[in-house]
């Protein structure tokens, strides 16, 4: 570097004798940040993978050395072997299909209810007074606690499982869409009125687009709740589905199958989340690019 240094970095400059006249050697040289490192940096994805992979390895080592007995937690190798076995026998795909159908049916019903209620509450003063107060009251009831009541009402077939999923989906969607509608910028609403937009056009061009970001956040919550509700629902006398596989395995202490089922639930949940992220990216492309990934 050609810039002359007046004070070595780290060296304490001599105390000024008089405050008014600072001695010339208190100047510092501002150096460019050191970018080139001797050790090449690991890519971010690799660094992020270290934790989960490390846990898997620890799990594997624990199983091999017998620290983790099989009746506590099966080894990851057994879980993978089970996955292959149950997939080739068709048992796992059938279970996923059965569970997926329940989740989808429940989700569609719940989403329809949430949409109808949130639009009623968001767009009409009377609807707000009637619907929102009731939803606030119902939300205080933990929906999982309704399982006994659902069994009494709907029996132990498919209906209580679907109803549970629908219920779990309704709340997050309702509150997020309703909140989104209510958070519509009053300045934009005013501008739209000034431009001569009628009620329908106002809803279409101003209110609903303002509610979209919130609705998509609600959708993500709703989908994760749907899978959660399914896990609870499938504990009720299931004769098909992932929950059925799991409760069967429970009887025989097959921890490998239980872990496999948990992994399947997790993967399905992640897949749904991924789809919503993609959807958000497309639908919210009008946002500035830095928060374009939706959530």
């Amino acid at each position: 570097m050609s810039v002359k240094e007046y004070a070595a970095p780290g060296a304490v400059p001599p105390k000024p004798t008089a405050q008014a006249a600072a001695p010339p050697d208190t100047r510092l040289t501002i150096r460019p940040a050191r970018r080139a490192r001797r050790i090449p940096r690991l890519p971010r994805a690799v660094r992020r993978a270290i934790g989960p992979v490390g846990l898997l390895v620890a799990w594997y080592l624990g199983s091999v050395t017998g620290v983790l007995p099989e009746n506590v937690l099966a080894s990851p190798v057994d879980v993978v072997r089970q996955a292959i076995e149950l997939t080739s026998s068709g048992e796992l795909p059938r279970a996923i299909a059965a569970s997926g159908r329940r989740a989808a049916t429940g989700f569609v019903i719940g989403a329809a209810i949430a949409l109808a209620l949130s639009l009623t509450a968001g767009l009409f003063r009377l609807g707000e007074d009637v619907v929102d107060a009731s939803m606030g009251m119902f939300r205080a009831i933990p929906w999982v606690g309704l399982i006994p009541l659902f069994i009494v009402w709907f029996g132990i077939d498919e209906t209580p499982k679907i109803a549970l999923v629908a219920l779990g989906v309704t709340y997050p969607l309702y509150f997020n869409i309703y909140g989104g509608i209510r958070s519509a910028d009053s300045q934009l609403v005013e501008a739209a009125r000034m431009l001569g937009l009628g009620r329908i056009a106002l809803i279409r061009y101003v209110i609903l687009p303002s509610a979209l970001p919130g609705a998509l956040v609600g959708l993500r919550y709703a989908l994760s709740t749907a899978w959660l509700a399914l896990v609870f629902g499938e504990q009720i006398n299931a004769d098909a589905g992932i929950g059925y596989l799991m409760s069967n395995a429970e009887q025989y202490f097959r921890t490998d199958v239980i872990v496999l089922c948990l992994a399947v639930y997790a993967i399905l949940g992640l897949l749904c989340d991924f789809v919503v992220r993609l959807l958000s990216k497309r639908l919210l492309s009008w946002r500035a690019s830095f928060d374009g990934d939706g959530a």
Binding site: Q187, M194, L195, W286
Partner: protein, 260 residues
């Protein structure tokens, strides 16, 4: 809106005037913001409305826009009027050109050619297809102006449209508004607290205080107006005096200042 309903019944006045306000009052929770105000704006006249924050000038503009009808008194405005506000208020989820023609009747609200024509008039037709969030403040304000003009208003209401712009952008935007006004021939009511802006653009400058028009001055200077001319400077210090601001340069003309 009371204003639209009453405009038909008084066709005699609307021959020469665009806006007629008689005895207008507006009260917010017992606090009178506009108190028995009278105002007439001629067709094609450019009127600037000055005043301190909270003097009621924005309220008056909102009443004329039809956004506030909890009033007493008589207000007659043209049916075709539009507004631009301090924030551009564009719908972020609609492309720029869709914003311009949004709310036009029939198929016109999908007429990209029409939108582009007006965007060209404010000088940013090349930004027609982008999202509003990617516009700069000055560009967004131009879109807002295009959106107001596409309605071919007889009365254009401007509520501090340059207030949020930086000084250089503001100069260009002011010049643009002056040009647009001369081309379209509409009446303009410009609410501002920038005395120089008012004097540069308006035929008549009103100073609002305590809910009424406290002062009024007709600006008889040729356009385009120069900020430094002696008449301009003396008008400015008069207006600043009415607004309660003592102008240090009031006693001397710019020429004297240079020579001293």
């Amino acid at each position: 809106m009371s204003s639209d309903a009453s405009s038909a019944s008084s066709g005699d006045k609307s021959e020469t005037s665009s806006v007629d306000i008689r005895g207008l009052s507006r009260t917010f929770d017992g606090r009178t913001v506009i108190d028995d105000l009278d105002l007439t704006i001629a067709k094609g006249e450019f009127v600037a409305l000055l005043g301190h924050s909270g003097c009621g000038k924005s309220t008056l503009l909102r009443i004329l826009a039809g956004l506030d009808d909890e009033i007493s008194g008589e207000v007659i405005v043209p049916a075709r009027r539009s507004a631009a506000f301090q924030s551009p208020r564009l719908m972020p989820w609609l492309r720029v050109w869709r914003n311009v023609v949004l709310g036009l009747p029939g198929r016109a609200n999908r007429d990209r050619a029409l939108a582009t024509r007006y965007l060209a008039e404010v000088g940013i037709e090349e930004r027609a297809g982008v999202w509003p969030k990617t516009l700069s403040g000055g560009e967004a304000q131009r879109v807002s102006l295009a959106r107001a003009l596409v309605r071919e208003p007889e009365l254009l209401l401007l509520d501090e449209p340059f207030g949020a712009l930086d000084a250089l952008t503001r100069v260009n935007a002011q010049r643009l508004v002056g040009e647009l006004w001369q081309r379209h021939g509409c009446s303009i009511l410009l609410v501002t607290h920038d005395v120089e802006e008012a004097l540069l653009l308006a035929d008549r400058v009103l100073v609002m205080d305590a809910g009424g028009i406290a002062h009024e001055v007709t600006v008889d200077l040729p356009r385009p107006r120069a900020l430094g001319s002696p008449e301009f400077v003396s008008l400015r210090s008069r207006l600043l005096g009415w607004l309660g601001v003592h102008d240090a340069s009031a006693s001397e003309t710019p020429l004297e200042r240079i020579s001293s």
